[in-house]
Symmetry: C2
Subunit: 225 residues, 2 copies
Amino acid sequence: MRDRSLCGALDKTALAEMARIGRRRTLAAGESLQFEGDDNILCANVLDGVLKLSSLTASGGAQTVGLLYPADFIGRPYADTVDHDITALTRAEVCIFPRAPFERMLAQNAALERQLLRRTLSELERSRRWLLFVGRKSAGARLAGLLIDIARRMAQTGCGTDFGIGQLIQLPLTRTEMADVAGLTIETVSRELGKLKDAGAIATEGRRGLRILKPTALQAIMDSE
Amino acid sequence: MRDRSLCGALDKTALAEMARIGRRRTLAAGESLQFEGDDNILCANVLDGVLKLSSLTASGGAQTVGLLYPADFIGRPYADTVDHDITALTRAEVCIFPRAPFERMLAQNAALERQLLRRTLSELERSRRWLLFVGRKSAGARLAGLLIDIARRMAQTGCGTDFGIGQLIQLPLTRTEMADVAGLTIETVSRELGKLKDAGAIATEGRRGLRILKPTALQAIMDSE
DNA sequence: CGCTCGATTGATCGCCGTCAAGGTACGTGG
DNA sequence: CCACGTACCTTGACGGCGATCAATCGAGCG
């Protein structure tokens, strides 16, 4: 896993330095690493589990603006305050770096900085693609897109295999959390999941089990409108 | 302006190198610099004018995922293909760098790379904040937010002043383009602008003239729901 | 002055949010 | 192992916001 994370860019001494300033922390599901508005004092790497990046709106509703999987980077170097809440969706493990020494490492290690730049660029791209979804697509399409994205990421994380047809996936999100990502309500999520089941595109197993039975059908729904 | 752009990070020899590989180009309003799916062969800096980053949906509708103002950076180093159309909204001037030599410069110039990293991080943050808007806010709130954002950016660009009450702003977007940014239809944009006028928050002058008469009222609408 | 494209205004419809009532998974304790 | 309770999820009825369809208006240009 190390080679997919930031640390893939590092040589031996840099790795040692990284290990020196970092410390592991385990988060329980629902536990938050930081809140919007906090002083920005840390960066981190996700080692295990899934976390969300979210903001609260005035009316109490939440909008999740990103999901974080193993090997993803957390934090925003050079900023003074934190822009979003970061909360563990599942039990999660992260490797935390205090921001100041981390920035010092960045300054001294061009390879690390380049890696972070690449990562940030592709995160920006992800965010923009999702913006298109939320801005223009129907509830069904958004949900299909979310499921496909989750399935892909979980498969990568799990064991490097592509996600196979009918394989059981453990969803890292509750219905409420899926609604927060997609910009929908929990009721709509439930109904649209029902439709996807009726269409035979997916099957559910308990609250968090999911099987994708017809990837192409699901993709078609995602692309439609 | 140079000190707000990427080039602010450069020393004299680097600036000369940059000038050597870059070439200016003028775009007419509506002209595109690149299209989604193209080979990724260029990066650029916006010198003047406003451009949009957009994607087309299956049904022909467009979603604009970002606006680009003077000093903003265009392009995605390290990627093979282009993710979005880039189109000039107004007559615009850009400074184009072929991607390969630009990446070579990045590799040799840590300060330039750091500057680009900072820029990308804040662009990611902008994108996520807008995601929250599009995901959760009413049509009126989205439009108010868009107007405030445009006013701020245009004021910065224009002459460094904060945007004053009642000052005339030339909108760089048509109604259709505003709709594409906000994820609305042109009719809804028109109606919501009407409401904002009725409320005395703004005044319009011809198609593209805008005055913000009550910034606080506008901000309240933006924050509401 | 007239033409054309963009903007406005009106009428109607449908998706999805809201409110409300069960129903089901899953953990806890007997 | 089963009963129970709670939190999560599903399902239904209804209403409103914004999309869609359609007609008119008006600005800006030749």
